[in-house]
């Protein structure tokens, strides 16, 4: 999912665990996953199913995934995938409960790498979370400087190269140095011009973070000269789940709830409340528009959609709702995106005159 895999692979290999990384997600992954999934299930299930099948083809015998009970379907993925994949196959299937991520991760790594001490495991987890947060930072910088660069593609390339460098860093200091260097290089391409329109990217976690699922929409927006602001990041999420929740000081939800009132007054599972909360936050902070992105049929985001419609109408905030499924072709999405970008730019030029 997004840039989650590279640092995790590094961590596992550092602990002498043999890792088979699924091949990058392609059309084939999706088709394979869709073939082995129920028709009405949401896109992340189909993609992860494809990932599992491709890794099994590549010789993996142990699969690890996340789960966690709630109102959303995501927590049930593991149980169904385990049943389907375990048929006629001798595999081990592990699930990490998102409510106790640190505990489960420590146990799992302790099992796979019995020779490594708890200290080494703890250090490796910390380093991985640190790397993921550095990756968050360069991705945020990519969007900021990319939208202000003469040739946005260059900034995107720098970011991608930098991400590979960070994944292979060995110490905490090295991670910070690399991160700062990458951001400095990006900054050098900045053009002094008027601030580009800012667009908030809200919606479901997986499709926001996995570039294949959202068809590199973020990069596409940057190329259109829009600054993209995301509120979910892999590293931030890992940090909140591994550290803050273990310490019991994770109360992000309350803030979102305060923002989302009166449009949505309850946590509806998944990222539904977050989508509404962040959109309300953006509405009062001069954002030019909001893109709501989610997999087709996503239960929490459908509830959020009811709230977003009214919220954006009341605040006169342009809203583009995109739901993606396995049939999504790039052209359909990009046409809508270009039209939306044109609308925003036009609106900005009209109001600035």
């Amino acid at each position: 999912m997004g840039y989650l895999s590279a640092p995790i692979r590094y961590m596992m290999e550092n602990l002498n665990i043999e890792v088979i990384e699924p091949p990058p997600i392609t059309r084939k992954t999706l088709e394979l996953g869709t073939q082995h999934s129920p028709e009405g299930v949401c896109l992340p299930y189909k993609i992860t199913m494809g990932n599992f099948l491709e890794s099994l083809e590549a010789g993996a015998d142990t699969l690890v995934t996340l789960c966690g009970a709630g109102k959303c379907r995501f927590g049930f993925y593991g149980a169904v995938q385990k049943t389907v994949l375990g048929k006629n196959r001798d595999i081990q299937f592990f699930t990490l409960d998102t409510e106790h991520l640190l505990r489960d991760l420590q146990r799992l790594l302790g099992k796979f790498a019995p020779k490594a001490g708890q200290l080494a495991i703890g250090r490796n987890i910390a380093l991985t979370v640190h790397k993921l947060r550095a990756l968050d930072a360069i991705n945020e910088a990519k969007s900021f400087y990319g939208a202000r660069a003469a040739v946005p593609q260059k900034t995107l390339d720098i970011c991608e190269y930098g991400a590979g460098e960070i994944a292979n860093c060995e110490t905490f200091g090295e991670v910070i140095d690399t991160r700062d260097t990458v951001i400095d290089v990006m900054r050098s391409y900045e053009q002094p011009a008027a601030a580009p329109p800012k667009v908030a990217f809200v919606g479901e976690f997986y499709v926001l973070l996995e570039p294949y699922a959202n068809r590199w929409l973020e990069n596409e927006l940057i190329k259109q000269g829009l600054e993209v602001k995301k509120f979910v990041y892999t590293g931030n999420w890992a940090y909140a789940k591994v550290l803050l929740q273990t310490l019991g000081i994770y109360n992000e939800e309350k803030e979102y709830l305060r923002e989302a009132r009166p449009y949505l007054n309850y946590h509806v599972g998944g990222d539904g409340l977050k989508s509404v909360g962040t959109t309300a936050w953006c509405a009062s902070r001069g954002f030019a528009g909001v893109i709501h992105l989610f997999p087709f049929g996503c239960m929490p985001e459908v509830v959020a959609q009811y709230a977003l419609k009214n919220l954006c109408e009341d605040y006169k905030l342009p809203l583009l709702t995109l739901s993606v499924d396995e049939h999504a072709s790039d052209t359909g999405l990009f046409t809508r995106l270009e039209a939306f970008a044109d609308c925003l730019k036009r609106k900005q030029s009209l109001t600035s005159e």
Partner: protein, 329 residues
Amino acid sequence: MPITVGIPRALLYHDFGELWHSFFSHLAVPVIVSEETNKRLLDRGTTLAVDESCLPLKLYLGHAESLLGRCDRLFVPRIVQHHQGFHFCAKFAGLPDIVRNTFHLPESKLISPVIQTGARSEILKAAAAAARSAGKTPWSGWRSYRSAYTAWAQARDREVPSGNAFTPRIAVIGHSYLLKDRFLCGDIFAVLKANSVTPVTDDEVPRRRLYQEAGHFAPDIYWQMAAKLAGSARYFAHHPAIAGLILVSSFGCGLDSLSLEYIEQQILGSCGKPYIVLNLDEHTGRTGIITRVEAFWDLVKWRRKLESNLPAYGLSQRPHPLYDGELEY
């Protein structure tokens, strides 16, 4: 000026409607319930709802709209969790918000008590809140809830009559808001009855038994409604009087998309009984459903005829381990 409360005849009304009715009648608050589902309500709901909503939610909005001009308050409870460890789907947790956003209603127009853990104290709090928004005292809310609940629970737990075990029976499994809606599922039952088959639903199974069966899938299934479905599927799949199973689902149902796959893999695939999954949507042509149910019944009949010509273990069980070839008919 007395307040009239409107209750949409959709979603959890089919499970708890009687409880809600008697709660308000103990409170001496007049209640109106929307009419039975019809094409007009469904069409209105489909127009009002966000496209990707599931069929039952679209229906709910249609029902809610039909009540708007006729009552002072809408009763839209927010049910998040009723039993420890079991959740409801996101749409139940967000139902009052969905209704308010769709019709641009102020908070005061809704009576929406929150049930989020199923603890006794919390239910009493919810009853008090509901009474207060209906213009009554919290004390009368508690009293009404107590008497309503006692009567309702007694009626619910009474012995269920079991039908004649010698006539073939088909189990119909699905969420009660689908099965009990005559507009959506009436045809399924009518076709079965026309062929002199007795349909059975999980209403005829003691609740305790259902959840016992569901306990086999304990940590996996964490939705209450999916657990109930899996429990009844497991019960009926192993019940000797049941000749086949019809599973009813609706388009866009997030729970069913995964839990039916799970039920198929875990129970139905290996039980040897014929089963069919019927997916309902807002297209109201009746023929599609009727044809499929008839075809399914034909299949069950053939299977029963075949089985009577086969050795004692029948087709319903796996072939003998010594007999490892394909079964030839």
